[in-house]
Every structure is written in structure tokens, then in C-alpha cells.
Symmetry: C2
Subunit: 306 residues, 2 copies
Amino acid sequence: MSQKVGLVGIGKIARDQHIPAIAGSEEFELAATASRNAGVDGVAGYGSLAELLEAEPDVGCISLCTPPQVRYADARAALEAGRHVMLEKPPGATLSEVHDLQALAAHKGVTLFASWHSRMAAAVLPARAWLSQRDVTAIRVSWREDVRQWHPGQDWVWQAGGLGVFDPGINALSVLTAIMPRAIHLAEATLDFPENRDTPVAADLTFRDPLGAEVTARFDWLHEGPPEWDIHIEAGESALLSHGGARFSVAGEEIAGGEDREYPGLYARFAELIAAGESEVDLSPLTHVADAFTLGQRRRAAPFHW
Amino acid sequence: MSQKVGLVGIGKIARDQHIPAIAGSEEFELAATASRNAGVDGVAGYGSLAELLEAEPDVGCISLCTPPQVRYADARAALEAGRHVMLEKPPGATLSEVHDLQALAAHKGVTLFASWHSRMAAAVLPARAWLSQRDVTAIRVSWREDVRQWHPGQDWVWQAGGLGVFDPGINALSVLTAIMPRAIHLAEATLDFPENRDTPVAADLTFRDPLGAEVTARFDWLHEGPPEWDIHIEAGESALLSHGGARFSVAGEEIAGGEDREYPGLYARFAELIAAGESEVDLSPLTHVADAFTLGQRRRAAPFHW
């Protein structure tokens, strides 16, 4: 039996990913949307989440894909109304607000799912299993893409709280933290801020691993041409987790891979959590981002214009 | 019976606070120091913590007052060597590294105490008790001091990871989070970075309170004259927690206050935790700081010179 889900924030990610994933899901049906200036044909549309919650008491699940700067108020309202909530990544603009939502979800007895879509990429679990059997000595993350292609005209990414290049970079960190056999933490960072923007366009991170592996990451948002979403691994053999986690090769030979099922995977996980009466909120990717902003050296970069 | 403590980092805060507090403590005796270029007369001095740990197996407790950027490696080494550890504030340069230390302390079965000295100020507990009985509607934190007086020549405060004005500001946040009856979180922030420095010299913070109180904070490091370490509270009556938490007045009348016993209070708490076999690591003040760096709008300010 499928559950009714309300989708909040009908923008690029909703149309590209959430709506098709819900349409293909046996667990959910899209019953309502809330968005200031867009809707979905054939689905009840509201101008705000408050209106949706009031008018649709049977919509038991709310999926939020609004920008992180405004997500908290909606998440809180949905939890207060006793609905299960799934959050797009990053789960909020601050760590503290997500702690607050966690406490509220526990208090209300509903599910809160802070989703990390890249962790659902086809080769992430195989890579994790491979790494768990080996001594990793080095990891080099290279996450380069063209902001003009992937966030066309989306000014919120450049506004304070929009994370800038950490918006894609947090995908890399969600994969890195999923495949690493142990916790690492940031030791040094450099962040390049365009002089007319509030968030960085590039970042270099150096992590400290208690067991001594060299772990670095380079995020670049001005990379033209096809994106490079790669994690290079040294662990006796050389391995590469590429295409954002979709393909895994060892010594040049592909040993795992598959089609893109990230968002279907997220909704399946959301359904599992609801059925089990559990929440899943892993803040480690956002914590690394907050650490980078806190610890990082700021450099001024050329102004950015669309 | 007093326990032997080793003090790491013999700088201003060690001489001003830790050494007198240990000298006046019945629970601890200063048995050794580690510092690159200073020692304490009559106490075994080592050039590094590694040497101290090797030479002094009976020193069961280590207190770290080195700058946050270098504290992790020492904390890890001390915990690995099975010693109890007390951390000056802030407990680290990143949240993730403190999570790592927490896990290590639990694994080794020793105490980790992330200290917040301002929480030990004489009027903090009375203010907390007063607030817990009332509906707070507004809190305005004003934390202004002269960096040249309180951190003379300490360049680490201006280096990435040194937190800048959040070094004193985190004291305010440690008090705010101790007296507030509920969790709040940052909604907006503005950070002023001197153009020749990596950390901010001033900050304005606006918090969101789930119950609607207006909570703001202003940190200023170029305030000349006597410091202003005040928290103004509206809760039916007007109250003021001033002098960094040492005095509390309601409607202009002082109802709590006392002499400065912050560091003696910390060492007493460290002893309690060791006796109970517990750790105490509340990261909420550092989380608010990380949130401010992540969410905050950056403004350029005039260069800072000592």
C-alpha cells in the first residue's frame, strides 16, 4: 500500500529527481505539492506547506527540496504536524537546527531522514566493502563541475548558507564518509571566495587520519566540460570510485557499477525507516563542511557572474 | 589524595589561571609541564608532551592549554597513553576531531573533559535557575573587549582555526547555552574579517528560538576600555548577567554574584568526572561557532595590526 507524500519546493532537483523517483516507487504516491510558483499537473498544489498540512491531513510524509537556508521552518512545521520528513542534502543551513529537528522528531515519534543521494550511487557499497578489507594509505577526492551547468541561475548557492562549491562537495564528503573504514577529520583547508559572492567557488581540504592515510579533497566549480566526480584510492592496489560513486574500478578494471538509482534508493530507504519507526540523521558530511568554513583559510577569487 | 597533573602549553592562560588553580586545589598537584620554551620553577619540565608521557608514567591527568590548532595531536597522545584529559576552550579546531577524541576516551576508559570556564562563573547557575522558571522573550548578548589587552601579541588567534573574535565569543555562547532553558540555533550571521587576517574581528548573530524569543549576540574585539561581557535578558522582568557571568541582577538589583572561581571550579569538576569514571563533552558552543562560519555573511574590515 502506497503512502501519500507531499513534495515541497518544485525546482530543478524536484523535477529532475524527486518526481520521477516517486512516480516509479511502489511505496509512495505524490499526493500534493507546495511551492511558491510552480506545481505538478494533476497533483493538488498549495502555495505554502502550511496550507498543504492544513488541507491534507492524509499526507503522512513530507519531502523537502527547498534550499537549505529556508528548510528548517518547513521541516519543523511538518514534524509538529506529526508527518514523517525527508530532507534533501544538505539537511540544513546549520548543524544546530538539525539537532533541533532530530529532537523534535524523536519527541513526536515520527521519522526524520536526512538523505545523502550520492551514498545511493551504484558502486558506493561495493567500494566500502573493498576498503573494509584493506589498509588504505591514500585517498584523493577530485570533485570538479561547472556551476553554470549544474546550478543554472540558482542564486541561493552563492548566498550565505548556500555552501557554494560545498553544495556538490558535500556529495563527495557523503561518499567519503560512507566508504572510509574509520572517522577522519579536517586538518587544513583553503577556501576561494569570489569577491562578489558569499560562498566559495573552490576549496582544498587536507584531512588527518588517526591511522596515517593521506586524505585530500579538491572541489572546483569552474571546471568546464564533463564533470569529474572521482575518488582515487590507494590500498595496496590503486582503485577509482568515479562518476559520483556509480562506478568502481581496481587496477583499471571495473568491478562494480550500475545505472543511476540514487533517488529511488532514497525513497526506498525512507519507506524502510518509516516502517521501522526509526530516524536516520548522519551529520558527518555537514560537520566536515562546517569544520572547513571554521578552520579554512579564505582567499579572494575573481568575481563570479552567471 | 591529590592526583598528579601534567600541564601542556605554558603561556598566558596557564600562568594566569591553570597554575594558580592547581596550586589551590586539594585534588591535583602540578607534577610536570610540557612546553617548547617555558617551564615552571620546581616542576619537572619537558620540551614535548611525548617526552612527558614517556618519563612520567605516574602523571595520570593531562591538562591542555595549547592553541586549538595544535591541541588534537596532544590530546590523542595523552588518551592513547591512558591518561585523563582536560581541554581548554575551544576543545579543538574542528568538531570532527573532538568527536574522534570522545570515541577514543570511551575506548580507553578514561575521562575527557571539554572545559568551558565561563560556565563556572559565580552567577551562571543562579541565572539558569531564574530563567528556568520564566518565559524568556528576548536575550541580547554583548561581548566586547580589546584584543590587544586580552590576547597581546598572540598571533594564533588571527590564524585560520584560531576563531578570532569567537575566541572570547565562545565564552558568551558557553554561558548562553548553559542558561537557556531550550536549544536555539543560528538563523543569520555577519562576520567582519580584517583584510590581512584569517579570522573575524567582529560578528553579529541572530538566533532562532523555537518558542519565539528574540536572541541576538554582538561580538566586538576592538572595544577599548573595560570589557563588556553582558547578557541582557527579558523575561517579564529585565535581568542582566554581567562581568562574564559573575554577577546577576534583576530589575537593577544584584541577586547573585561572587569572586572569580572559574578555574578552581573546572579542576574540581575534572576531579569529579575522574572519580565517577565519566567524560563531559558539550559541543554546543563550538557548534554555534561552526554554524556562524558556515552560514555567516563575510564582510571585509580594516586591516588589523597589533
